[in-house]
């Protein structure tokens, strides 16, 4: 294994761990806002790590640029979507989870 392949492997492994924890959090967290916390952040970080990792093993420049472009689009689109979802839930008066109160629909 060459140096750039090792870099890729490490970045992909990190991305895997982060994305898996995020998914598990989305499954296990008690209410919408805590799930938002795990899903929103891990998604962006994990995808950036995987895309950047793949750049190192890509031979041609055009594909590398496209990889970076996809990562950039996701960096803009995913937080926007998350923001919009949160805002909608907030405007809908969705209550957050507190001790003794499961939260949920008003």
């Amino acid at each position: 294994m060459q140096a750039h392949e090792i870099v890729t492997t490490v970045l992909l492994a990190l991305g895997c761990v982060i994305s898996l924890t995020g998914s598990y959090g989305l499954l296990r967290m008690p209410d919408f806002y805590t799930r938002l916390h795990t899903a929103g952040k891990t998604d962006s970080l994990a995808q950036v790590m995987i895309f950047v990792g793949l750049v190192f093993v890509t031979p041609d420049l055009l594909t590398q640029l496209k990889l970076v472009m996809v990562a950039m689009i996701l960096m803009i689109a995913a937080p926007t979507a998350t923001h919009a979802i949160t805002k909608a839930a907030h405007l809908h008066h969705l209550r957050p989870w507190t001790k003794g109160d499961p939260g949920g629909e008003p």
Binding site: I76, A77, T80, H83, A84, K87
Partner: protein, 405 residues
């Protein structure tokens, strides 16, 4: 177990779970959302099976448009299914079980998944892979068959495969034309012995770039779509056109009531507004890229058209439909719908007028038939793209429109 089979199995497991959930979830809104998930997963299955163009279409059409259409319908109807006492219909289950059992019994005669000896991988494949519009040579006009072609043997050829090699990885065998195997034609369908580039080189100043079309386009899916199945694609476009017309007939309000009605734009949400403003030119450009790039890589008129429609739909979602009508008034939209079909058939008619057959694109550039092919395919793809985008937009507009009481 190869990688493709492993990923295929896991993905199909996810797909099946989603399918059961779509049918069994009572909330229709949740069902529509799961439809979007289902389409994205299905598109992954198709990427895994190396079918880039189909995955492209499925992601754009299934994940984007049909979900939006379903939600647009839910606006007019109920969000929930009516609750019922009996959740499972035993009679239907029995019927589908029997039907499925019969189909599964039928699969035992199917060739193995990925079997190189399957009949589908042999009959006419080399011809299809190697540009299928008749026999394209460097000479323009009515194409003469290549040298070594025996017309009488071709007419009596029944399409049977002479011999299948014992080694399934023998790709050289698949490269050889079936016609060549039967001695009907010399085995050089694939590499064009004398392509136009060679003729231009002697002039010295006109060297064709290495990515020029030497008699065929790289994406054989687009090539088949526009040439081998050109008539079929033309009438598929007509089907879509007809769908747009039926939507207008079924749902459009009378003209005297006007197009503009009240709407609920999301433009007061600053983040969404700014991101949308940034995104829309990019999406439009990307859609045009997908249409134009169709014969070089995955993509084409259907996919690109849907992407362009998605840009307009996003605009309507954020800024409201009246704003969309100011940008693209419905009469213009209707006109463009027809124009796309006209462009497709017009390209065919142009080939006819230039002395070739209907949709024989090589007539468009008599000096270099390969470039003529590419030009014709691009024109046709643009026709398809215009029709598809405008029909999708019409469908969205009609579904979102408030009905006259």
């Amino acid at each position: 177990m190869t990688a493709i089979v492993l990923i295929d199995t896991l993905l199909l497991l996810l797909v099946t779970v989603t399918a059961v959930a779509i049918i069994e979830v009572r909330n229709l809104y949740a069902s529509a959302m799961l439809t979007s998930v289902y389409s994205l997963l299905m598109a992954l299955v198709w990427v895994n099976m190396h079918s880039m163009d189909v995955a492209f279409t499925e992601a754009a059409v299934g994940g984007g448009i049909s979900t939006i259409l379903l939600i647009g319908t839910l606006v007019h109807t109920a969000r929930e299914e009516k609750p019922r006492k009996r959740r499972l219909d035993w009679k239907a289950l029995l019927l589908t079980g029997l039907c499925g059992g019969a189909l599964i019994y039928g699969t035992f005669d199917m060739p193995r998944f990925g079997d190189p000896k399957a009949p589908i991988h042999h009959f006419r494949v080399p011809e299809m892979m190697a540009q299928t519009v008749g026999f394209v040579t460097s000479r323009a006009g009515k194409q003469a068959p290549p040298e070594g072609f025996d017309p009488s043997a071709y007419r009596s050829f029944n399409g049977a495969v002479a011999s299948v090699p014992a080694d399934p990885t023998d790709t050289a065998w698949r490269e050889t034309s079936i016609l060549a195997q039967h001695g009907i034609m010399l085995p050089k369908v694939l590499g064009h012995a004398s392509h136009p580039a060679a003729e231009h080189t002697e002039a010295g100043h006109h060297q064709h770039p290495p990515d020029d079309f030497n008699g065929h386009v790289p994406n054989s899916v687009t090539s088949l779509l526009a040439a081998y199945r050109g008539y079929d694609t033309m009438f598929e476009t007509t089907v879509i056109f007809t769908a747009g017309v039926s939507l207008i007939l079924l749902l459009r309000r009378p003209r005297r009531e006007g197009y503009l009605q009240r709407s609920a734009p999301l433009a007061d949400q600053a983040v969404l507004r700014v991101v949308t403003k940034m995104a829309i030119p990019f999406i439009l450009l990307f859609g045009l890229y997908v249409i134009t790039h169709g014969e070089l890589g995955p993509g084409g008129g259907f996919q690109g058209g849907v992407v362009v429609a998605c840009a307009f739909i996003l605009f309507a979602l954020i800024f409201g439909r009246p704003a969309l009508y100011r940008v693209l008034p419905p009469p213009v939209c209707d006109l463009l719908t027809g124009l796309g079909v006209l462009m497709y058939s017009g390209t065919g008619a142009a080939c006819l007028l230039l002395g070739g057959q209907f949709l024989d694109y090589s007539m468009l550039n008599t000096l270099s038939p390969g470039d003529g092919e590419a030009l014709g395919m691009t024109l046709v793809e643009y026709g398809v793209g215009i029709t598809v985008s405008m029909v999708m937009l019409t469908i969205f507009n009609q579904l979102a429109e408030e009905q006259s009481k």
